[in-house]
């Protein structure tokens, strides 16, 4: 069970949270202007990396807020969490990212 640090509440066990998929996949502002391929990209394409992954979590059984986390998908180590709406941190500035 992971310990996940909610930016609002602090570290809590994983079972309080709900995973929300890849982060920074913004809903297009005006979907009507997108062609089918671009809309399909939004709906279905995900980076699914083996490595560091920016992803959404919701502290469902806590404050209820969505936030983002950078997690390594092999070790499941989370190096940073940040509030929804904040920019994805520059990975180069986060210490310890060279090891999973």
């Amino acid at each position: 069970m992971l310990l996940i640090t909610c930016p609002h509440c602090g570290a809590r066990p994983e079972i309080e949270f709900r995973y929300g998929g890849e982060a920074h996949v913004a809903r297009p502002a005006d979907p009507a202007t997108l062609d089918d391929a671009a809309w399909a990209e939004f709906l279905y394409m995900r980076s699914n990396p083996k490595g560091w992954h920016a992803e959404r979590w919701r502290h469902e059984h806590g404050c209820g807020r969505f936030f983002n986390a950078i997690r390594h998908t092999v070790s499941d180590r989370i190096v940073v969490t940040y509030r929804a709406g904040e920019a994805r941190p520059d990975l180069a500035t986060i210490p310890g990212l060279d090891t999973p």
Binding site: I15, A40, M45, R46, K50, T73, V74
Partner: protein, 422 residues
């Protein structure tokens, strides 16, 4: 050397000194007519059928680790074709038919055991869903029958059908031809078969890049053992498909979620069939060796970690203990996680749809042991090659369900059971 009781006896006299290697360990040639990435059951089956059915002999399977060492080695060996959608039915039924004679075909005992796959209905909604499966399968000529709870218990005596259960068993859908097989043997059997047809299986050779020419066409792959030229590439890398495809600059509608599995210590035969419960998220069978083989739902987040989270194990085993209270004292021997691709758009890759298959030369494989034979035989090097009759119509005539919501954990009231009223 043909495998048989006779050859075993002959070898016994010689202290088994003369068995040849079941497959070669060749160095990669500079070029192949086609390369398959990933030597799991699926990739090896692909190579085997390309060679056997379509006469392609100058082909290679490239594997970063050891063959059969990925999901093929970590799955829970269930084979069935009682799927709802016609596209799935067709491909898995094709596979089941191949399974039935696969040991003879490969001269390798893959231990296909049609022990019956029983899917439990715990709610009225389950009953509706599984009856729909039964009817759809029957129309497609695929066996699947409805059992009452009492009939289910008769088929599987350790099953608890007490009406006072938290989620009582209201009935079950049974596919008698469904069952299990020996997962390692599938990979090894196909490997040996493909090797004998001249396919090079190149293990410990990791792909580091996919090279494309000026027009965008694939020219070959960069590997830890050098560049290998090929005009055709099939990718069957299970959970790692996104990673490999990214090397060709192709994004995939896939996410990799760990699927946990565990086995118990071996016990004498107690579980006559495969039992699956989607509602309380567990499935179970017993291996030839006597281990109870148990699978859970997918973990909630994407991962390549191949370890399981403890709370998933506890939820799986509480479900197993509810369904089979006799097994409460049995002990878990080994617990692991496989990675399983979940299609953001299920089956989309089979489709003649440039949106989901951006490179003409790329073909993608599927995800399950039960599909190894069937999909392996259909994954084509090019569109001229033969495919099963059931596969000839477009595989996806309609938008595909996004059933992801149904696959989430049952805790926290997240499941879409029978919804509304008034």
């Amino acid at each position: 050397m043909k495998f048989s009781l006779l050859s075993l006896a002959r070898q016994a006299l010689r202290g088994h000194a003369d068995w040849p290697a079941q497959w070669r360990s060749p160095d990669p040639k500079p070029a192949y007519d086609a390369i398959i990435l990933g030597a799991g059951g699926h990739g090896l089956a692909t190579a085997y059928y390309l060679a056997r059915e379509h006469g392609m002999r100058n082909i290679a399977v490239v594997e970063k680790g050891w063959l059969g060492g990925g999901n093929t080695g970590r799955n829970t060996t269930i084979i069935r074709s009682n799927y709802l959608w016609e596209e799935s039915e067709a491909i898995y039924e094709h596979a089941v038919k191949l399974w039935e004679t696969l040991s003879q075909e490969l001269n390798y005992n893959v231990m296909y055991s049609p022990r019956g796959v029983m899917m439990l209905a715990h709610t009225i909604h389950d009953v509706q869903v599984f009856k729909r499966h039964v009817h759809a399968n029957r129309l497609a000529g695929i066996d699947n029958e409805w059992l009452t709870a009492e009939q289910a218990k008769e088929f599987c005596p350790p099953l608890n059908i007490a009406p006072g259960m938290r989620y009582p068993i209201l009935g079950a859908a049974l596919q008698r031809r469904g069952g299990t097989a020996r997962h390692d043997a599938v990979a090894w059997g196909y490997a040996r078969g493909a090797d004998r047809l001249g396919v090079d299986i190149i293990q410990n050779c990791e792909v580091t890049g996919i090279r494309r020419g000026a027009a965008g066409a694939i020219t070959g792959i960069e590997t830890t053992r050098g560049f290998i030229a090929t005009p055709k590439l099939g990718v069957v890398a299970a959970g790692h498909t996104s990673v490999v495809m990214a090397m060709a600059g192709v994004r995939m509608p896939l996410e990799s979620y760990p699927l946990q599995a565990l086995v118990s210590e071996p016990i004498k035969p107690a579980m006559p069939c495969v039992v699956m419960s989607n509602t309380i998220h567990a499935y179970i069978s017993q291996s030839d060796k006597g281990e109870l083989v148990i699978g859970a739902g997918t973990d909630v987040y994407t991962s390549y970690s191949q370890t399981g989270a403890l709370h998933v194990t506890t939820h799986t085993l509480d479900a197993i203990c509810e369904l089979f209270p006799d097994f409460r004292r049995v002990r878990m021997l080994r617990n692991w996680g496989g990675d399983r691709r979940r299609h953001a758009r299920p089956l989309a890759h089979h489709r003649q749809d440039p949106g989901s298959r951006p490179l003409r030369q790329l073909r993608l494989g599927h995800r399950r042991l039960q599909g190894d034979a069937g999909l392996g035989s259909c994954l084509r090097g090019d569109d001229r090659t033969r495919r099963p009759a059931s596969d000839r119509r477009p595989l996806l005539p309609r938008p595909v369900p996004d059933r992801s919501a149904d696959r989430r954990g049952r805790r926290g009231g997240r499941r879409a059971l029978r919804p509304p009223c008034c």
